[in-house]
Amino acid sequence: MSKNVSSFLNKLDKLHDETIEIYVPSLKKKVPTKPLNLKQQKDLISSALDGLKGTLDFNRTLNKIIIENSGLSDLKLYDKLPFIVALRKNALGNKAGKIELQGILDNIKNIPLEIKDKDTIKKGPLKLTLKIPTLREENMLLNKCEQEINTDLEVLKEGIGKLYIYEILKHIDTIQVDDDVIDLDDIRIHERVKLVEKLPLSVYTKISDYIETVNKYNTDILTVDETELEIDAEFFDTSASD
């Protein structure tokens, strides 16, 4: 790298060394986080153009930005929203449509986190331990899922089915049948998919109930004056801001 560019990068860093304090539910404290930069904002908005793959890409980009800007690698799935909302508020202002983002940040502090980080399901000889994945774990699965999704309209249903399987998959820690225990982190992703596809339907329902506890927490946080904020690529678009 040329001396001139290195010196310019130093000046840029000095000019923009501010951090914002974000409350992290899993840590129960505020952590300093770098604000969004130009490339990150563009990456978030450009994912809006690409349908089902775009949705996956948007989530992957968000996770990557949160990990990068906070410097924390073990953040849980339910830590995502506080970062999204605080980064957006810092970048584009407090209002998103009719919703005041400060109201959501207040919800994060006030609504108790009642999600179990681990849970167990039993069905005969089958025992599953469930977990709340970290953002890093979610990104590994999103990468794989994005590679497998076909964007053809004809196979869209199949794509949505795959998304569902991956959603289930990311919440399973171990599967035990009698004395045989498999830690899903120890096997390849396509083998995990095969295993999960063989689980009985009643187990799926119980995993869905577990996932629902996270979804409910997120919905409660995102609701201000009975209006729920929708988080998509448009949320980071300047033309949609106040």
């Binding site: 560019v5 840029l12 930069n37 490339k39 563009k42 300047t238």
Partner: protein, 264 residues
């Protein structure tokens, strides 16, 4: 050999000749990505700091000097040849849209993009011509890929809104009318937008003039008359076409002489 010429906006441009052997690479690149092919073509433009419109002009001249001035375009009646001078005349002179803005202590000059869109949306930041902090200035088009990525990853997001406004304000300038179309020949109008992939795809098409089998056939035929193959591959396609015509005329004349001898 280097060629130099002056663009309609009076900018001096130096390019490297595209030789016959380079077209072989193009033929091999046929299945390659748009990004690789554009990188390869851009390596022939030696002048740094050009915008994509200036590069388009440079490619027109390069095409004219090294391959030929006729371009075949599709019509409902089949392929029609059009002279490159028509394209150049249609573009004419391009308006100056440069704009200087000050954002959070950074002086930022916006202009036409300096990078082609080839699938990576990061190219949009090449609308930034230069950045300056405390009299220290960097020109975006002169940065390596690594330097470019480092700089755009550190720029504040507040620039984004200014970029969007600049694009909106100058949207008509980013559309380039290449050909007005001809109703009698059923040829459609050709308008390229420098912010989408059609612009780079059009440039690649300009140089996609030979298949690999044709490449070998031309060499095979000409080497009977000019055995120095190294000389042939280091000539331009335009020159080889001339040699080919001369050789064809020579063979035809020899055949006629032979027929006359046989008749007498």
């Amino acid at each position: 050999m280097d060629l130099s010429f002056t663009l309609p906006n009076k900018k001096e441009v130096v390019v490297n000749e595209i030789l016959y052997k380079d077209l072989r690479k193009m033929a091999l690149y046929n299945d390659s990505s748009l990004s690789n092919t554009i990188d390869f073509l851009e390596s022939f433009i030696l002048t740094k700091g050009l915008t994509v419109v200036e590069k388009l002009f440079a490619f027109f001249i390069l095409r004219e000097k090294c391959i030929g001035d006729q371009v075949a375009i599709g019509s409902k009646k089949g392929k029609v040849n059009i002279g490159l001078h028509v394209f150049k005349k249609n573009i004419g002179t391009f308006d100056d849209i440069r704009e200087e803005i000050d954002i959070d202590g950074i002086k930022c000059v916006l202009n036409y993009p300096s990078r082609f869109y080839v699938g990576d949306t990061d190219f949009i930041f090449s609308l930034i011509e230069s950045l300056e902090i405390d009299n220290e200035k960097v020109t975006i088009s002169s940065l390596s890929k690594q330097e470019y990525n480092k700089i755009i990853s550190r720029l504040p997001d507040t620039i984004f809104g200014h970029l969007e406004a600049f694009i909106q304000k100058n949207s008509s300038h980013f559309n380039v009318l290449i050909y007005e179309g001809k109703e009698s020949m059923e040829i459609d109008k050709i308008v390229l937008n420098m912010l989408d992939g059609s612009f780079s795809a059009f440039i690649v098409k300009l140089f996609d003039c030979i298949q690999d089998t044709d490449y070998r056939e031309m060499l095979f035929v000409l080497s009977k008359r000019i055995p120095d193959v190294s000389f042939l591959i280091n000539s331009t396609y335009l020159e080889l076409n001339d040699y080919y015509k001369l050789y064809a005329d020579e063979v035809e004349k020899q055949n006629e002489d032979l027929q006359k001898q046989n008749a007498s």
